[in-house]
Symmetry: C2
Subunit: 237 residues, 2 copies
């Protein structure tokens, strides 16, 4: 229509780097330089040497360009849960949530840059939170549908899912803030805490520990009557 002669030089140099990656890099750069709201999609596309149209071909929205692909991660977690052979629903979910942490760890500095952004920009923080809620929902549904020896109430499932996600978030944020050098060990410990929290004390007898024995004494009878058994239990038998 306009008759402008199409310049072949407009085409980006054969960078080999796909447009999607160039766009993500440009977005992180610009958000960092000028802030999120102050950066337009037009500017991101310009720096990546593509058109605005192409931006929206690769990312559905301006926010999406900086977030990880939660969809695929969510799906892989769903798979992991479906094929899980753990003994309890809670342990299976605790096992699965590690995948989320590892996914962030693999991103390295990119995840930390994103955290810096989401901390400052309300809209981005809300989106991050909403993503976390989807994992929690998946976990809750999994726990609810779990068929095991002990049946769980809907409330218990809700609490367990929330606890697992909270433990994960706690460790993740520590690492994102640079407060943790070994997030993998930390998340293991935190999840062990969660499992212990939901494990009835009666089931803990003989729990392996550093010379610690936990004993449950249910006593209708005088204490002295059960003392021998108690001593045996504490002794480690």
């Amino acid at each position: 229509m306009t008759g402008t002669s199409p310049l072949p030089s407009t085409r980006p140099a054969p960078t080999a780097r796909p447009a999607a990656e160039r766009l993500m890099d440009a977005a992180f750069e610009l958000f960092d330089e000028r802030g999120y709201e102050q950066t337009t999609v037009e500017e991101i596309a310009e720096r990546a040497q593509v058109s605005r149209t192409t931006f929206f071909r690769h990312y559905r929205s301006k926010e999406e360009v900086i977030f990880p692909r939660h969809e695929v991660l969510l799906e892989s977690i769903r798979q992991r849960l479906a094929t899980s052979t753990e003994r309890t629903a809670l342990i299976a979910v605790s096992d699965a949530v590690r995948l989320v942490l590892l996914s962030y760890l693999e991103e390295g500095d990119r995840a930390r840059n994103r955290y810096a952004l989401t901390s400052r920009v309300g809209a981005l923080r809300d989106r991050e939170i909403a993503s976390g809620a989807r994992y929690q929902r998946l976990f809750r549904e999994f726990i609810s549908s779990w068929v095991g020896p002990a049946s769980l109430t809907a409330l218990q499932a809700e609490l367990m899912a929330a606890a697992v996600v909270a433990a994960h978030n706690h460790v993740l944020r520590r690492w994102l803030r640079g407060e943790s050098d070994d997030p993998v060990t930390e998340v293991d410990d935190a999840l062990a805490d969660v499992v212990r929290l939901f494990t009835a004390p009666e089931e803990r007898v003989g729990e392996p520990g550093q010379g610690t024995t936990v004993v449950v004494l249910q006593s209708d009878r005088p204490l002295d009557e059960v003392l021998p058994a108690l001593r045996r239990a504490v002794a480690g038998e």
Copy 2:
């Protein structure tokens, strides 16, 4: 400039109902009739007999028009926590979260209409979730800063806040779906469960039961060293 003669009949009839309420009603009606995305702010303003400008004077965004005033509720909860005289941080927070539930209950059908909307529209659901996260954050900070006999780790604070919010959400959603006739009692029970969950069994001695006393003995130390405390516990003191 345009010279259009200003018609006094343009002015809305002296409805006495404030514009903000008319706008909210109109929004709920239209969202219900045509759906959220299919409704424009222009149409909402039109039905409320005000201009589009006035809409944005009362509500910062199209989403905000259907949501409760979380800001003021959040503030009143902050006050409640600041003046709380409960024995533990967890109980104080459990007490405070009831305010949130009551706030929804007072709305009645309006809250249920909102739930129907947020269930269908992704953007609204995300916003609702983000609001809940703010309560959780407030609770977490409160628990973390709590000074009491037993000091809590950051992880424990995170887990407690998550559990309280999860318990609240569980009961709230049941009520919103019409599955609960007595949400107040339910939330009391659910929060009692949460408190029990985080109460170390050692502290549960004397908990009311059918003539049964349950004692958990966690022993790094020789049994005889803790026997006195044990005798006292079984005795019921």
